[in-house]
Amino acid sequence: MSTILFIKVFLYLQLVGQGVKVTRMKSKWLILFMVFSLFLVACGGGSDEAAVEEVVDEEPAETLDAPATTAAPAEPEEDPMGICLVLDIGGLGDLSFNDLAYAGYEKAVADFGMEGTFLEPEGGGENRGELLELCAEAGNDLIIGNGFLFDASMNEVAPNYPDTNFAITDGVAEPGNVRGMLFNHAEGSFLAGVAAALKTQTNNVGFLGGVDFPLIHEFEQGFIAGVKAVNPDIEIQIGYATVAPDFGGFNDQVKGKEIALAQYEAGADIIYHAAGGTGTGMFEAAKEVSESTGSKVWGIGVDFDQYYQVGNALPELQEYILSSMVKSVDVSIYNAAKATMEGTFTGGASVDNLATGGIYLSYSGGYIDDIKDQIDSYKEKIMSGEIVPPSARP
């Protein structure tokens, strides 16, 4: 039907063109131009779709342990539970925070037969609240806001839907039906620091932060403390892609590569990143430096087990990924979905750390297997409270 409409409009355009007595030549150009721009837009739209699908395919299952089959419903219920995930700015395909949340969401949808919806916000805070509300009105049972920026919107929307479960990652909110899912980044980063300090040949390591603001300082301070705990004489270089309020630093591979190259050239042989998608640039830099100088340098990943996550997307970078500080946002979201299914969901803040297993250092690739004992001894000291990694700058 709309094709016919389109053709009619097209013919009309041509008629108007003639009525105006634009020369035949010009009206042809006009039409050609419009068809061409249509073609361009159509192509652009198409490839975008493909990109998103690709990323979805690449979701590594490795970040989640084999799911318990307990809650998988044998026969589909009449009204399946609904789960709605509102992503942070950057959206799907950031190979980081959002993809991680999506992995947990996808798993929950698959395992529990939930009806899933995920939304991406436009810029501007008002839209976050709108999307949460949209999810709530659609009758979803669990609504997740991915990222600390959702706190104000949660306070605003959640009280209006007391029977709906809400969850926010990296943040807390006041209403009783909101679960605040926090992570102790300093503990995991401390272990990353220990690994880097034990593995460095040059006594020089680096830290690459995405955006210079207190959340990332938790990673930075934990890492520094870990390095210093092993050997106080190791030099630590620190670099950030951007300074808040510019949050572009979480998705800027070029800048990540630039900073990492500078740090490797200044003598670092291991860099730990807490920079989201920017970190991919660091792994590229590691490959480039290793190949040009002949001596191998490393990167330590974050959030995902990047040995698999980056390794699957870009296999040539896999051998430069020493380890990863895994932050199981996916597991937290999966658990929130499970609790919703079982009717045991509770609000309030929960903190994941080394003890709960929501934060851990990955041994994928086997590059740090030889120092596992030393790492484990630090891990036990942290869990027993003997060492408390600092989470803020002094």
């Binding site: 039907m1 709309s2 094709t3 409409l5 389109f6 409009v9 097209f10 009309y12 355009l13 108007v16 063109g17 009525g19 105006v20 007595k21 634009v22 006009l30 419009m34 721009s37 249509l38 837009v41 159509a42 739209g45 198409g46 975008d48 779709e49 919806t117 995920f118 939304l119 991406e120 436009e122 810029g123 501007g124 805070g125 008002e126 839209n127 976050r128 709108e130 999307l131 949209l134 659609a138 600390f148 920026l149 706190d151 104000a152 943040g171 603001f213 207190p214 959340l215 300074v243 808040a244 309020p245 510019d246 949050f247």
Partner: protein
Amino acid sequence: MKMRFRLVSVSAPIIALTISFGLSSLILLIIGKDPYETFKIMFEYGIRGKSIVSIINRSIPLYISAIAVAVGFKMGLFNIGVEGQYLMGSLVAAYIGAQFSIITPLHILFIIIVAVATSSLWAAIAGYLKVEKGIHEVISTIMLNYIGTGLIAYSLTTIFDEPNSNYDLPRTKELPETGKMPPLNKFFNIEDLQDLHGFLVIAVLVGIFYYWLVWKTTLGFDLRITGSNPIAAKFSGINPNKLVVIAMITSGGFAGLVGLGPLLSYFHRYTIDFPTGLGFAGIGVALLGRNHPFGMAVGALLFAFLQRSAQILDLNDVPKEIEQMMQAFILLIVVVFYEVIRRFIVKQQVKDASKRSDE
């Protein structure tokens, strides 16, 4: 004769709208979605009570931004810097406005004055550079946008920052109760819906003021005459340099109001979440509305409608980016059509003139 021209002019946006719907339908078909269903869902969602309030709230800053751009357009001046101007104005107004408390009308008036003054000062730099140094305003305003963004980032994290517990995200102190604009819900008897921004009143006043300024004052006449024929304007005794500076300051002054709708009615402080991009969106609305106060109001409402109603699409497995494409189609086609129509009118006028001379 005149009537016919006007009819043709008005038909342009309608035709553009129809074509862009057609093109969007085609793209929906290509990606395997039903266009009729899609538009139906959008429309049904877009006319719900909450949506209408949201649409009006969204259109307020869009409309004011369009007016800021249009003031420049009227004299052939391209103020691409509305973006930086309104962000600067909003930040300074949010900071100063939060420092004290007086009765609400005075407090809001004060915040408005601060925002307008800051933004026009920022815009005046571009005017000065054009007049004194011959730097084209497109270049200077784009550069000033970057400088403004940097200045905002710096000052928001240092002098204007209020330490807080949410990862110490950069933000200013919250406006006191007296600095918050009361919503209009009581007035329209829609208290069950979300807040209808009180800044709507100001937006309407700004529209009227813009009309009066451009069509009923000497300054407006000078602006329009310079826009349509700069050489004739110069010889009629208009000082183009002075006019550039005045136009830039006026445009910047309107820009100062853009961010105040969201600031006074929703955010009550400047945060990293503060809406950006309104300055650029305003250029599109001004083009669509042909710099006319009524046309721009329709344009702002239309874009706001598309933005809001597209929210529902993701819930129905249609990529909501289709809405951005529609906006782009509308703009592209409307620009082409205005040009086609302009030529048509010129041709007709020539024909009429020759007919008259023949008689």
